[in-house]
């Protein structure tokens, strides 16, 4: 690896996971709304929403680890 290459830190990884989780969460809700049955969540959607929240939480927990390489 080139010494000048960018290495992802724990904080950056946390941010990435928060972004990914939020995108999945909002995406699931939007998909539901676009289908015209907003709020009528099936088991898969509930699992998806729960999973995306879980990803966000893992991301948040990584933020305090700062600039250590991920």
């Amino acid at each position: 690896m080139n010494a000048s290459d960018w290495v992802i830190t724990k904080r950056m990884l946390g941010g990435l996971l928060i972004g990914l989780g939020a995108l999945t969460f909002v995406g699931s809700l939007l998909l539901d709304a676009l289908r015209g049955n907003f709020g009528d969540f099936g088991v898969a959607q509930v699992l998806g929403l729960g999973g995306s929240l879980g990803i966000c939480l893992i991301g948040v927990s990584l933020l305090p680890l700062g600039d250590r390489p991920a």
Binding site: M1, N2, D5, W6, V7, I8, L13, V43, A44, I58, S61, L62, L65, P69, A70
Partner: protein, 550 residues
């Protein structure tokens, strides 16, 4: 003081003894699993028909490629056949097809060898990371011991070869930071990834995991390698699609978009955890350790990606095999966790420095985890010498639909009902079905290609492929129109129709699209239902009173 030291020394000796004892039991269990697996594989290689539905179509792909014909064809033109998998596994087998013709044994041998290579790679990765030979051996054997790997390892199917390429790619790439020739290493790993992807599409998750890990370790480098990789991988894809007139895309992408059955996935996930839980805990702990206290290894990223990808096991037609990649990753992570524990190589932060005192206990626990795992994944043929006595000693009885096969996995939707050793009666019944095919000069319509190969007839249709495409038809878009096949059925152009159903079912069932099955029922009548491998093969002959509607 001396008394306290003696007590501490005594406790340490006791722990060390328990550790050795548990490792010994774990090794014995793994030896049993490997022996069962080898016996199963050897028996399958001698079985001349489809053991698992769809094997014959992979043999047909190999035969077509050996004749320099494309397996990505128009499903609406005779013989209404197309493959739904990439070609690499079949291409590798082409020289054997030239030498031995249409035989099942070499594809099954290739699958079996692929599992051995994967097990070796897992052991190598653990040995390299921890220096622990015994744990490395246990880790490799743990892969072979899994009920899921046992199931699909020695089959004429491409899936397990994909797992082999994935594992090799990851193990090669994981050595990147210690390598003096990183470029060569990356090229080798990416070539293996490409091989995995062109063996089966599911490898896409491993490709993503490898590039995500490269991205974590160096953004520019990851992008610099992703561009040529995408160009080569995508270029091959476009070239095949162009050369097949779009049949490649239709048959390996569109035809694989199937109905999703959540209950199938949750059932398989629950079974997967039940069987592999002991090692999953060790693997999970290492992922958490790396996430918060160390750098993420490629193995951890791969494990998470493979677990996420296993969600696809809920697709119609998918099953337990979709967990095989996660099992390989789990075996490496669990092995590294165990190896580090036994060799005291953990680097703990000051906050957790007190945890070192529990290391002897943790060492016993990781050894116990391998024993628990070895006990959880037991499957045994109960009618073979030695295994029968072991089964008797353990008090095991058949819990499957086969009278002489015990499988700790039980059953859930998507878990293939295979694993038993085929009997002489199964083989004799297979030849009885072939006799029907040989008795009529017309081609046959069979849900399994073996009867076509054995009777010297062309392989006509890949029924699940036709069903998948038919199910994806929409009012705006017809992916498969069965009218040409239905016309031939109504003309009674086939001498025999062979369908498969569960024993005890009475209706004419099969994997064909409903209108095709309806046409079969109109023009053909059930002659005999022949049991083989736990299923019933319905042999249908043309109805003499039938006349095609004008």
């Amino acid at each position: 003081m001396i008394g306290t030291l003696a007590r501490v020394g005594g406790a340490a000796r006791l722990m060390a003894l328990a550790q050795q004892l548990l490792l010994g039991v774990a090794l014995l269990l793994m030896a049993l699993h490997v022996a069962v697996y080898v016996v199963y594989a050897v028996n399958l290689m001698a079985f001349p028909f489809d053991y698992d539905q769809g094997e014959g179509f992979e043999l047909n792909d190999t035969i077509l490629l050996s004749q320099f014909q494309s397996p990505y064809r128009d499903n609406e033109v005779f013989p209404f056949y197309a493959s739904n998998y990439p070609p690499l596994y079949h291409v590798i087998l082409v020289p054997l097809a030239w030498l031995f013709g249409a035989e099942y044994w070499y594809g099954r041998l290739a699958g079996f060898l692929a599992t051995l290579i994967t097990a070796f790679a897992i052991g190598y990765a653990v040995r390299r990371a921890t220096g622990q030979s015994t744990i490395a051996l246990l880790s490799g054997c743990a892969y072979l011991a899994s009920n899921y790997v046992y199931h699909i390892g020695p089959l004429f199917r491409q899936h397990i070869s994909m797992v082999m390429f994935e594992t090799l790619a990851v193990v090669v790439m994981a050595g990147l930071s210690e390598s003096r020739r990183p470029r060569r290493l990356i090229v080798a790993s990416l070539a293996l990834l490409l091989a995995a992807g062109y063996t089966k599409q599911l490898a896409i998750a491993t490709v993503a995991a490898v590039f995500f890990w490269l991205f974590l370790r160096g953004v520019r480098r990851a992008i610099a390698w992703a561009i040529p990789f995408a160009a080569v991988g995508g270029g091959i894809f476009l070239l095949i699609d162009w050369s097949t007139g779009g049949q490649w895309w239709l048959n390996i992408i569109t035809a694989n978009v199937n109905q999703y059955i959540l209950g199938q996935y949750t059932g398989l996930l629950s079974q997967f955890i039940g069987l592999h839980g002991a090692l999953l805990i060790l693997a999970g702990l290492l992922v958490v350790y790396e996430l918060y206290l160390d750098r993420l290894s490629l193995y951890s990223v791969w494990f998470v990606a493979a677990l996420l990808n296993s969600v696809l096991a809920g697709k119609w037609g998918a099953g337990d095999s979709y967990f095989a990649t996660a099992i390989a990753a789990m075996c490496i992570l669990a092995g590294i966790f165990a190896g580090r524990t036994l060799s005291g190589r953990w680097r703990l932060p000051r906050l957790l420095s007190g945890a070192e005192r529990v290391m002897p206990l943790l060492s016993v626990a990781v050894c116990a985890a391998y024993v628990l795992y070895g006990a959880a994944v037991i499957k045994l043929p109960l009618n073979l010498p030695v295994f029968a006595q072991i089964g008797q000693a353990l008090g095991l009885q058949s819990n499957t639909k086969f009278p002489h096969f015990y499988d700790s996995a039980g059953w859930t939707m998507g878990y293939a009902t295979i694993g038993q050793i085929p009997t002489a009666e199964d083989i004799a019944n297979g030849w009885r079905i072939v006799a029907y095919a040989q008795a009529d000069p017309r081609p046959i319509l069979s849900e399994e290609a073996a009867f076509s190969f054995r009777s010297g007839k062309p392989v006509v249709t890949n029924p699940t492929q036709l069903l998948n495409l038919y199910n994806n038809n929409t009012p705006e878009r017809t992916l498969y129109d069965p009218s040409a096949l239905i016309a031939l059925i109504e003309e009674q152009a086939f001498g025999v129709v062979i369908l498969r159903r569960e024993i005890g079912q009475t209706a004419i069932l099969g994997f064909y699209p409903p209108p095709v099955l309806a046409a079969i029922e109109r023009a053909y009548a059930l002659r005999e239902a022949i049991p083989m491998n736990g299923h019933e093969y319905t042999v249908l002959l043309p109805r003499p009173e039938w006349s095609k509607p004008q």
